[in-house]
Symmetry: C2
Subunit: 660 residues, 2 copies
């Protein structure tokens, strides 16, 4: 193994206290986590039962029922426990901790003697373990529970679940591997890889890192494991309940198993699987110093974020396979842009930042977070978008089957609810995404501007840093060193792409120059306790155009302000929204509306509405010359993350332009 | 029964001789019909075998094979025979007639003693006749063979197939009906209804008309036959090969069997089924004087053509169920607009014209014919579009599964090839669509401007009329009476919507006034042999806008000239086509290009291309202000029906506008 790159990374401990974000983290703590707990216990009226906890009780021998829910139902319990871990770390809660401890006891009781743990194969299909990696999500569920174990251990210091999952990891290590007699396989849905890296970091066990590496290295190698495995089952599919044709290697692009990961050029296939895998690849590239793997990560990052990403940070442009399609194919109306995929993109971005602090990674992370991800959750924390469209026509969502997957309203909890627990675990660990620390180069990188208190370990010593932020509404973040080590170290402040290079720096009230490195303002000095840094990236409403190859956005602009993408909703504007255009020379007026859904900056602009009065309802086509002049209106745009919280109606991010 | 309205209709006998259309009818005669014959006999290299003729040989007891092809494979033979009938009527061909006679002999041998005729149920599933009307297309296949029988009888005077199908109709009449012990059912795919009307007209048998009426009246009545039938089969589906849930009544909108036809408000469900049914309803409304049925026809016509029809005359905006979606939902890129559906729309329009000569019906008929229908066929007659998009991005067709059904190139013959034989039978009977005749009111209505010689029977006597037309390239049609009865009668010339009221009339070289009635220029006089009428509806290139509720076309125009819709192709313009816009004030230059695919008027206009050079390939989004001024280009539009005949590339009908 080459010299691990992560030796440079320093420990950090950050707690959020932020006007904008605390409401989200509190919503998760006070509403989402308890609501999920009820969901896992089948106590939500008119939601499909989850059976998730019941399955564990059955597997533990406490009750008798048939298995319920999806094959990967265990992962819902895992994601909940992981979110609980993060929540407890930031906000101790003895009652919640007791509930979690009980769940962990139950999980331990469901574990087999040899370490195996999976309620589906324990309850429903005993004896068939490891025979259908392609479909059965066994390693995927294991991975989520490992993530939960690490989070819970780090929050509470309690090892029980960590030990359970280490024992399972040991068992997995005895089943999978390159050695004779072991399975040279991997999961149909990547997740175990990034989880094993976390387990390795929490336990110090090198074997877990090597096992993650094995899964990554083996993926897509010839002969293709998923094909060979399918042949052994005669193509039996547990989803179809009968034999299906053996998948062809090109179909395995869905699972990113069509060729070795190091040879993959573009983001393809199921987008959540993809970003979970890229996350693990990036971890491994950093921890093992694997240059080829790092190049693959950079290549896939570039392809995905520069050619296949919506302006909202959404990825995956087709609901067929919840997948990427191809470069520049970003339809706004038939989009997928799953919430979970953007969360995975955030994981990937965070790992890229650990590999190299480059503002581009944080720009994408922030874009996905402030738009696609928080936009997925309703203000009550109980309704979610799984699909996050950039253009909605409610009637089409109801009556055109090609758009049924695009919902005009957030949905109640599903029996199979991948996205809500993912939102919960991300938002309750958001403190881990604000900074990275290079201990060796004594640098604290501030990627996100979120009010928080942090403690950082540098080679130079311990630093305590308080951040106050007025983002996203105002371009002002204030940093104060409340503890310094006495020798020089650097603070690197991200210059967000949205400020377009216009960011002022004040140190202790005086304007200061700064050096730019990789998109960060780097200020290296012998900081004193009480030093105050004011960082003012310009937050200005502006119009954004899309690359001409993105055909869906031709002749259109989006409105952005700071990290927020804006949209037009029917309730504030005219209908149909397609008849509305924006005067590109018009001034964009931003103003804070304290009445709007908890308070938000809205943006007004001069617009036009195509004349409609002279059209007869039953004239589909007529001479263009009959068109009368368009009418002026005041357009009103609201942040994308707030759409769909007032009434059902049309919505669009991209707006036609009129030059006048 | 009320007084039949059709007593007014007079006999007509028309033969086409037209510069534009003869090439199509000759292509059908010389290439399509022989090619189809080879296809039916499984002699086309690299096409899936049809098995259609083989199935008849097996059913006739001449050979032993398993049944091959779709459950409705018999209908391919029927459509071919029908086209042959029309072709022989216009162009005798003893060899072809001998081949057809042999096929008819074969069909007769496959008929059961009791009159039943269907190779699927004879060969593959004997004993299950009439147990799965929902899926098995038994009456549908019968209907197509009845249409063939009538066409062949009318062309050749030979009764053999007519007798076979009358015997089958008698058998069907003994199986279906309101009487105790008979099936109160109807087919899942409408077709028999319009065919029975034809059989009634050819044979004079009133029972066939009453049977058609029974099928129409019964459809959608409670208790729903298709649901009850499904229960008897335990939901067994021959497509799925297993039991499926019994369809719910709202799902039967797919088959237009969700409510009685007289109560249906909007065009819904599978679009071919819909228009075949509306055609029969219109026939019945006319022949039985059923006012309520007529109102339903008018209501469905209005909904479909005014709110759910593409500018090309395409209908059916979603490939899910090859169906209508809802009012104003006309996406250009995920469109279906099946060729067969536009052909059915032409049938429906023709029947509406028989019910009432109103130019609107002919406008739609012409629109569908000159654009969607002839555009479906390649110049070699051997490749077809089943789906007729208004916007194509070839890469998306290949790589975005939601657009896989939209092909960028015409496809070779399918094993299940519904559209090509439908094109063949329509084009070889095009002579029947030019005129209708009201004998009682002594009026000849000229709906289409297609060079032809016609003989018409009016109450006033026999008229012979020669039409010469320079359409679609020039707005000139010349009519000459070569035989007149000696007393007054009227010629009614359609004022096409595309001339926008600008149509000059000359009689014997002198400008003449005319009265307008229902969109026709009505000239009633004591015509003399040798009288010459010149009719000059203005053919001018013009820009057309779409109703603002049609969101897909917002901010866009189409180019039309006479009956032809135009489009931009990548080969003549820039790529991506989405970056191109048209200057609405620019002059549209039309010129005849004799080199273009057999000669065609192309249209040039001033356009702009969004500046692209300053974009970096890997910058998906950037400030709109960085956009540099667009570049001027000369846009070149070609008739939509010619698209995709040169090289694979982007195509669009709707073009973004720039006002300058």
């Amino acid at each position: 193994m080459a010299k691990p790159l992560n030796e440079k990374l320093g420990r950090s401990d950050v707690h959020i206290e932020d006007a904008f974000w605390s409401s989200f983290t509190e919503l998760v703590r006070e509403t989402v986590i308890p609501y999920q707990w009820d969901a896992l216990n089948d106590r939500i009226a008119d939601a499909e039962p989850s059976y998730a906890i019941r399955n564990f009780r059955v597997a533990a021998g406490l009750e008798e029922h048939p298995y319920g829910g999806m094959v990967f139902q265990d992962s819902d319990v895992a994601k909940w426990l992981e979110a609980v871990g993060y929540s407890l770390a930031n906000h101790p809660d003895p009652d919640l901790e007791r509930t979690a401890d009980d769940v962990i006891d139950l999980i331990a009781m469901a574990q087999h003697e040899n370490g195996y743990l999976n309620t589906y194969f324990t309850v429903k299909d005993p004896g068939r373990q490891w025979t259908n990696l392609y479909e059965a999500h066994e390693l995927y569920c294991a991975g989520h529970m490992m993530e939960a174990a690490v989070a819970y251990y780090e929050a509470t210091g309690k090892r029980k679940l960590l030990d359970v999952m280490s024992k399972f990891a040991d068992h997995i290590d005895s089943v999978f591997g390159p050695e004779e007699g072991k399975l040279r396989g991997y999961d149909g849905h990547q997740e175990i890889e990034l989880a094993l890296v976390k387990l390795h970091q929490a336990t110090g066990e090198e074997r877990y890192l090597r096992l993650a590496q094995f899964f990554i290295d083996e993926r897509g190698a010839e002969p293709n494991f998923l094909i060979e495995e399918g042949k052994k089952r005669d193509g039996y599919s547990l989803w179809a309940g009968r034999n299906l044709p053996i998948p062809k290697v090109e179909q395995l692009a869905y699972n990113q198993a069509h060729k070795p990961v190091r040879e993959q050029e573009a983001a393809v296939g199921h987008s959540v699987r993809a970003v979970y895998m890229y996350t693990a690849m990036t971890d491994l590239a950093r921890l093992t110093g694997d240059k080829q793997l790092r190049e693959a990560c950079e290549r896939l990052w570039n392809n995905m974020t520069r050619r296949q990403m919506y302006i909202t940070g959404g990825i995956g442009s087709t609901h067929h396979g919840e997948a990427f399609s191809f470069d520049y194919d970003l339809p706004n109306d038939t989009v997928y842009a799953e919430t979970c995929a953007s969360i995975g993109l955030i994981f990937f971005a965070q790992r890229m930042l650990k590999l190299e602090a480059k503002s581009e990674y944080a720009d994408v992370l922030e874009r996905a977070l402030y738009n696609n991800v928080i936009g997925s959750m309703s203000q009550d924390g109980k309704h979610y978008f799984y699909v996050n469209p950039l253009e909605v026509w409610p009637k089409a969502s109801e009556r055109n089957p090609g758009r049924h997957h695009v919902k005009a309203e957030r949905q109640k909890w599903f029996g199979c609810s991948c996205c809500p627990p993912n939102v919960a675990r991300l938002l309750s660990s958001l403190n881990d995404y604000i900074y990275t620390v290079s201990a060796a180069s004594n640098t604290i990188y501030a990627h996100l501007f979120i009010g928080s208190e942090g403690e950082f370990e540098l080679d130079a010593g311990t630093v305590e840093l308080k951040q106050q932020s007025q983002l996203p509404w105002k371009g002002n973040a204030r940093f104060e060193f409340t503890k310094v080590p006495g020798s020089a170290f650097a603070l690197a402040l991200r210059i967000p792409s949205w400020c377009r290079g216009n960011a002022a720096l004040n140190i202790n009230g005086k304007p200061a120059e700064y050096k730019v490195e990789n998109g960060y303002a780097l200020i290296n000095r012998n900081w004193q306790q009480g030093d105050v840094i004011e960082w003012e990236p310009a937050v200005e409403a502006q119009l954004t155009a899309a690359h001409p190859e993105i055909r869906a956005n031709a002749g259109k602009v989006a409105i952005e302000r700071g990290p927020l993408v804006y949209c037009l909703e029917e309730v504030d504007n005219d209908s149909p929204l397609a008849a509305v255009s924006i005067v590109t020379s018009s001034e964009l007026h931003a103003s804070f509306d304290s009445q709007l859904l908890g308070g938000s900056v809205t943006i007004e602009a001069e617009g036009r509405v195509d004349e409609q009065a002279s059209w007869q309802e039953d004239t589909p086509y007529r001479p263009y010359a009959q068109q009368q002049s368009s009418r002026s209106i005041q357009l009103k745009a609201v942040p994308y993350y707030l759409w769909g919280n007032r009434q059902k109606g049309e919505m669009t991010v991209w707006i036609r332009v009129v030059k006048e």
